[in-house]
Every structure is written in C-alpha cells, then in structure tokens.
Symmetry: C3
Amino acid sequence: MISLIQMRYLEFQTNSGDMVDITNRVTQSLSESGLRSGLATIFVPGATGAVTTIENEIGLKEDMKAALERWAPGNIRYAHDERWHDGNGHSHIRASLIGPSLTLPFSDGKLTLGIWQQIVFLEMDNRPRQRKIVVQIMGET
Amino acid sequence: MISLIQMRYLEFQTNSGDMVDITNRVTQSLSESGLRSGLATIFVPGATGAVTTIENEIGLKEDMKAALERWAPGNIRYAHDERWHDGNGHSHIRASLIGPSLTLPFSDGKLTLGIWQQIVFLEMDNRPRQRKIVVQIMGET
Amino acid sequence: MISLIQMRYLEFQTNSGDMVDITNRVTQSLSESGLRSGLATIFVPGATGAVTTIENEIGLKEDMKAALERWAPGNIRYAHDERWHDGNGHSHIRASLIGPSLTLPFSDGKLTLGIWQQIVFLEMDNRPRQRKIVVQIMGET
C-alpha cells in the first residue's frame, strides 16, 4: 500500500451552454495514476462553469439547458451586469448553484459511477472559453 | 497513525419521492472502520437520486418535496421523456441539481455534523428503486 | 512525504443573508498546515448555512440574494414553519439546495481556485448566528 496524490488537468475548448462529457478523460486519468482505491476530485477553477453528473443523452442536454434558464434566466436584471457590462451575471449564479466541485470514490481501480451516469462539465459562460479542469486523484496503490 | 481507505455500501428500498435519513448508517460505518480522523464521502451511483443534508423533520420533508416540484416540475415537457418514454426527465434534472456526492470530515471518530443536521438520500425517480449507496471512509486510526 | 490530516475551525458572526468571503482564512489555514499537496474540505455543521464559490463582488452579492429568494421564497407556506414557528423553513431549503460541503484540491501549497473565484459561506438563517465552519486539510508535506 503506497499512498499518493496526483494532479491532472483536462483542457478543452467550449461554447456557451455546452455540456461536456469528461467521464472518459477522468477514467483515463485514474487508469494512468496506477491507484486502486481512493477519491477522485473534479474541480472547476473559475466562476462561470460547474461540474455534476447526469445521463449524457441528447434529450437531457436540452432539458438541463432549459432548467438552467428557468433557475437563472438570462433575460432578467443582474446587478453584476450593471456594474461590469459583461452580460454574464446569470452565468455566475448558475455556476454557484450547481457548484465547482465533485468527489468520486473509486475502488479496484474503477470509479463508482452508475451505468447511466456520466461526469459533465457545464459551460455557463456567455462566450467560448478555453477550460482547464482539475482532476485530483488521492489514494492507494 | 495508519492510513486506510474503506468502502461500505448502504442498501435499501425506496419509493418515489422518499427522503431517507442515512445518518445512523453512515455513523455506524464510521464506527466499524476504526478510523479516528478523515473524510467520509457519500456517493450515489445513479442518475436519479441525490444526497444532501437537512434537518430531518416531517415538515421539511414536505417542503423539500414541494421545492423539488418547483425547481423541476413533473408536469412540464422534457425532451428526455419524448425520446425514452420513461417519464422521469424531471428526476434526472433534480438529481443533477442537488448532486450525487457529499463529503463529511470526521474527527475523534465523529462526523462534524451539526446537531439538527442529518444526511439524507433523496429518491427522485418516479418508481420504487433498490438503492446501493457508497460510503467511503478515508483517514487515519 | 508525510501524510497528515488537520482540522481548523473558522469562527465568525453573521447576519441573515450575509455572503462571507472565507477564502483568505482557508488559504491561511492551508499555509499553517505545512501541507503541499492534498484536499481541503470546507464543511458547514448546521442546516441553515451553505458553502459555494463565486466571484465576490457587490453585484453578485445582490444577485445571489435575489436568486435564493426566487429558488425558495421567504413569503410562501412552509410546513416546517407551521410546526416549529421559527419562520426559517426557506433557510433550510436554501441550505440543502446549495449544500454544506465544498472540496478544493491544492497543489504546491496553493488552492486550485480561479483568479476571480472566492469561497463563500452563505448565511441562510433569518437571524444573526455565531458560526464555526470546519476546514479539514488532508494531504502530504
């Protein structure tokens, strides 16, 4: 048993409203780490993106987009926009609601995800972004 | 000081809309682990259930049910339902909103929960389910 | 490489609706721990407060307050209030929605936060509170 902490970064380009399935990239990071048992933490360094799990099918992509629009509509007043004029007040509120962090236990070298459950990054910002997401893997060989 | 990672699974039957208090089972898992200091991670392997904390009293059970209905109503259109015809589009959206994962520090062999704060599994699905929830305990003796 | 787990507590007074930026206090706790690589977990022991990240500027403070009011209005019926008469049913629902826990990877002795991303405690309760927030730092020197 050797305890280790490894940091990986997932880099990708997004467009506004994208739901990016990062499950395979997290699985690959875990595989490369050589760790068998522990905790994988996905973290979004930034205030206009978030991470959660969902069944990644095209219907739910549309439904999540509609839900975010209901939870923090893009067309209402935001004090943030009046101060900064970047028009992404709703992006910030949506990101804080869903949250920047996700912790996933793994065992026997495998994430404990359900079969129909994927890890997704949600691009809340109102413009394309170059994202660099943290995947920290902490555990034992 | 010995560092250890232990996996436990909580199995139970649910009905649609159930709020299941799992605090005692998590506390027991922690006690059985023999670890004194560390992090307990509760994880829902599945896309239609979630975990959070709440004061587990009958009034808030009703209030949370009403809130979930406001946040993702059961009676609006979901693209997921149009594609898969299982009628649980709202279940998926609610689960992604609340999230599948909860991390709880423990110290002196005790979770750092508040007195009126319980760990609850929220069954969002629209039918009874057999659930198997992950409790991972990572830390030191 | 020495593995360690350290517990810190952040104590402060709040008023109802406060958004308290605790980034500097978490950073200081990390610095004092002497750990270089690992996971910092922020946990709210209590059912009427929550933790998330946001760009801590005065516009978003107002926008988050308005969003919480939309997500769980203070002026609708709560079964909790009918039973307990403390008028904070909405506080509980808001806290469960945002969540009590936040996990932050750190590396080279630094949190992996974005430049415009701060850690905030959200006081959801309807009265001033004395809060004691858990900061657990787990990792390696």
